[in-house]
Amino acid sequence: MKIERREFLKMGAIGVLGAGTMMLLPRTYAQEADIDPSKAKNKLVVVQLSGGNDGLNTVVPYGDPAYYTKRPTLAVKPENVLKIDDRVGFAPQLAEMKQVYDQGRLAVLQAAGYPTSNRSHFFSMDVWHTADLTAQDRFGWLGKFIDGLQTPEKDPLVGLSVGIMPKAMKASTLSVPALESLDRYQWTPYGNDPIETSRQIRAFSDMYSETKDSTTLMDILQNIGKDALVSSTDLKNASRSYLPSVNYPLNSILSINLKLIAQLIGSGLGTRIYYLNIGGFDTHASQVQQHQNLLTTISQSLGAFHEDLKDQGNGDRVMTMLFSEFGRRVAQNGSNGTDHGKGGPMFVLGGGVKGGMYGPEPNLNDLNDGDVNPAIDFRHVYATILEKWMGANSQKVMGQRFPLLDFVK
């Protein structure tokens, strides 16, 4: 296991600011979640498949005749399936994922969902983000994990989203960054005159030197401004040139972003949670080509990422979780597509994962209003990752005790 060159948690915001340490304290935050220090360096990468991934064309129940009856033009032919056993297998575009599976480093959680399945994209996505079945919670499940961290670890860079700012990462005590690119993540003053620019930088850093304790909009903005100032300096130090040992596929944002994350992990940045999004899964019409392209992108990008981390020596410290807000209707619709459904597979991969198939294979003869019945409650998956991988007290983070699953070593 590779030792991180530099843990910003110790040397970054707090150490560099010195006397500023005290300034970070006055924030009020929720109940501290007990963190197991032996897991404090484990990292989680979340990949969100937005739009509702068609789970049955991802993990294909090719042994079930009902699959072919209900999907006359959309079903993956048995001879093309990358078989796991005599009932299910991966879609042919998932060759790299199948390799990771064969290495025992990929867990497939069949028919994940929640008991009160909702077919609205937004409602359901909010449920997954907040782990609250009423979707009323203002903060995300990862945000609540962040809220529960002890002060020294609660750094603006403890979480990092590339692209979107997901509700899942929304914490009550700090706002983690969502980046378009690394080099823009800093304040750039006006002009070229070094004296004039240094004056502006000094004014800017003075303006954002203090942490305010109130919850007025103005003070919250000031606190986020301070977080921006501190974390941009840390991130700048972590972003040196990077030559990965593997080839990432070209022309895919997911792949570019995963490479960036591998770079940041390799640089020793102490970020615990990375969040990525890939859209396009809302395949209501003519879905075959579109869905196959998405699966190809996912498999090639994650395959490269997984190999890259192994080569870095960080393969055992990074867990990647894929989810979508719902699966799709079992029967295809009249436009060679599929409508919003319920249960769908989740994937968890990495050196810390006990690979294999989890949960019962979807029973296509016992449907829930035409949909796959959710068999694994995604909140159990979250609790398992929080507790067994991130070292948190999942009950404190999630507000209730959920059973833990077996997919983490």
């Binding site: 560099v16 600011l17 010195g18 500023g20 937005s50 077919r119 994209h121 937004f122 409602f123 603006p156 979107i164 700012m165 706002s175 960054p177 969502a178 980046l179 378009e180 823009r184 993540y185 304040w187 750039t188 003053p189 006006y190 002009g191 070094p194 004296i195 004039e196 620019t197 240094s198 004056r199 502006q200 930088i201 000094r202 004014a203 800017f204 850093s205 003075d206 303006m207 030197s209 203090e210 909009l217 103005m218 003070d219 919250i220 903005l221 986020i224 401004g225 921006a228 100032l229 974390s231 300096t233 130090n237 209501h284 019409a285 619709n333 009249g334 436009s335 597509g337 409508d339 919003h340």
Partner: protein, 487 residues
């Protein structure tokens, strides 16, 4: 005097180009320190405006234009103040049917209208130059309400056509707006209407019509969604002509039951039932109020606006007018409590500073801060409030301020005003810029910080060139204040 530490945090020590500032008073022969100097310079400054007191007429008008438009300049405020708030509201709502000067200016841009950047430039130019600010705000409202993205539509002309539809119907009857959007080419593509056929309904449009466009979740059942989808079967787009077509062959003529009513409904019938629902009146009223004023309005405010909706035949104009004439709109709960959206921030900054800046840099700033016109994140629309703010987006907003400061032409209203007015020292300069850019006084600590920055940059007897440089420096830092993020 200074509450905040002035030492450079070590965190910036490796910032490129950082040079220690020279001693301000070196070579001046003055044995003054900064505090003493400031005391001599500014015996009295206007205190931070307490927003808990009632606003003056001028402040109300400034607030109105920050929300109903993209900010009013001092010159504009002078004119509106003479007319008074009531008349200003009436004029704002009853804008002229056309703006020939604006059309001239846009035609000079020679836009081909064939790319996303073209239509974004077309729209942003309207926002900057328009004399019908409420119209542009309403188009932005509808764009966020019926959020349609070019990423799904893949057709620039359809997106433009939808924008034109919003212009024509900006303040119209909500029923007509719902019927029109249900036949809008971009919307028909966006929500898969062509796949919605008799015997094989596609629920995508029906669900969003109820959930996001009119009633709000919790006011209908899954069966209502399915029946709505059936009623809209055959509402298709002709791909050749790019127009709405009712494909009777694919329409489901069987009986449907929607919200307890049964009949051989088509889409228009569904909308007619939908717009009579109190839930719909409340939903659109709340959405409009939250867009112009604050989130989560009190139930009595929503009730009042829903009443206006029913008494005025679903007129959006009547609801908007009721909002602008409400006490709540000018209350401390509202004034300076809204986070500017990126489009708002970028356009307002440009309007308040005046002068020419590169339109491409404006579009880039909006995108980087999280808002691309014609490409909302999904059908639920744009973020609101603090959702716009993360460390990264905040930095992008700040950086746009520095871009404006650096690139705005010398002909800029603010810079030429600064150069022609009599120089009266750093405190006066900061006050002049705060009044025009923030339209308020910043918090005490930040005001002092700006004054100190002005003093350092100006020195003791600045040349015109120095005053201009300092003005640009101050614009960059003022636009990086928390205050400028709010309206």
């Amino acid at each position: 005097m200074v509450a905040m530490g002035l030492a450079i945090p070590k965190v910036l020590a490796d910032y490129d180009g950082l040079v220690a500032p020279p001693n301000l008073f070196q070579n001046t022969g003055l044995a003054l320190d900064y505090e003493e100097y400031m005391k001599q310079l500014s015996p009295q400054t206007v205190p931070f405006a307490p927003i808990s007191r009632p606003l003056t007429e001028r402040e109300k008008i400034a607030h109105l234009f920050r929300r109903a438009g993209f900010g009013a300049t001092e010159t504009e405020l002078d004119a509106y103040e003479k007319k008074g708030l009531d008349k200003t509201i009436t004029e704002l709502l009853n804008y002229p049917a056309a703006e020939p000067e604006l059309e001239d200016a846009i035609s000079k841009l020679n836009l081909k209208m064939s790319s996303l950047a073209d239509i974004q430039t077309w729209w942003v130019t309207r926002m900057i130059l328009t004399e019908r600010p409420l119209l542009e705000r309403m188009v932005l409202f509808w764009h966020g309400h019926f959020a349609t993205s070019i990423r799904g539509v893949n057709n620039v002309s359809y997106m433009l056509q939808q924008n034109q539809f919003f212009r024509v119907n900006a303040l119209g009857d909500f029923r007509d707006i719902l019927v029109g959007i249900s036949k809008d080419p971009a919307m028909l593509v966006w929500l898969d209407s062509n796949s919605n056929r008799r015997g094989a309904p596609n629920e995508n449009y029906g669900r969003e019509l109820l959930e996001l466009f009119s009633m709000g979740i919790g006011n209908y059942t899954e069966t209502d969604v399915k029946e709505t989808a059936r009623a809209f079967t055959g509402w298709h787009i002709n791909r050749q002509t790019g127009t709405f077509v009712f494909n009777s062959r694919l329409h489901d003529y069987d009986s449907k039951t929607f919200l307890g009513k049964t009949g051989n409904f088509d889409g228009t019938d569904i909308i007619d039932i939908d717009v009579q629902q109190p839930a719909t009146a409340r939903f659109i009223s709340k959405k409009l109020f939250s867009f112009f004023a604050y989130q989560d309005p009190e139930p009595e405010v929503i009730d009042r606006l829903a009443d206006v909706y029913f008494k005025n035949n679903r007129s959006i104009k009547a609801i908007v007018e009721a909002i602008f004439r409400s006490e709540e709109f000018y209350s401390p709960k509202d004034v300076f409590t809204m986070v500017r959206s990126p489009v708002d921030l970028v356009v307002s900054a440009r309007r308040l500073v005046g002068g020419q800046i590169n339109l491409g840099s404006m579009l880039a700033a909006m995108r980087r801060a999280g808002q691309q016109l014609f490409a909302p994140p999904d059908v639920s629309g744009w973020e609101t409030g603090m959702e716009w703010i993360s460390t990264s987006r905040l930095l992008e907003r700040f950086n746009y301020g520095a871009t404006i400061a650096g690139t705005v032409t010398n002909g800029s209203d603010i810079i030429s005003q600064v150069k022609t007015r009599k120089y009266a020292g750093p405190v006066s300069l900061v006050e002049f810029l705060n009044t025009r850019i923030l339209q308020r006084y910043p918090e005490e600590g930040r005001r002092q910080l700006l004054e100190r920055l002005a003093l350092e940059s100006l020195g003791l007897s600045p040349s015109t060139a120095t005053i201009e440089k300092t003005t640009r420096t101050l614009i960059a830092v003022i636009m990086a204040t928390p205050e400028f993020q709010l309206e």
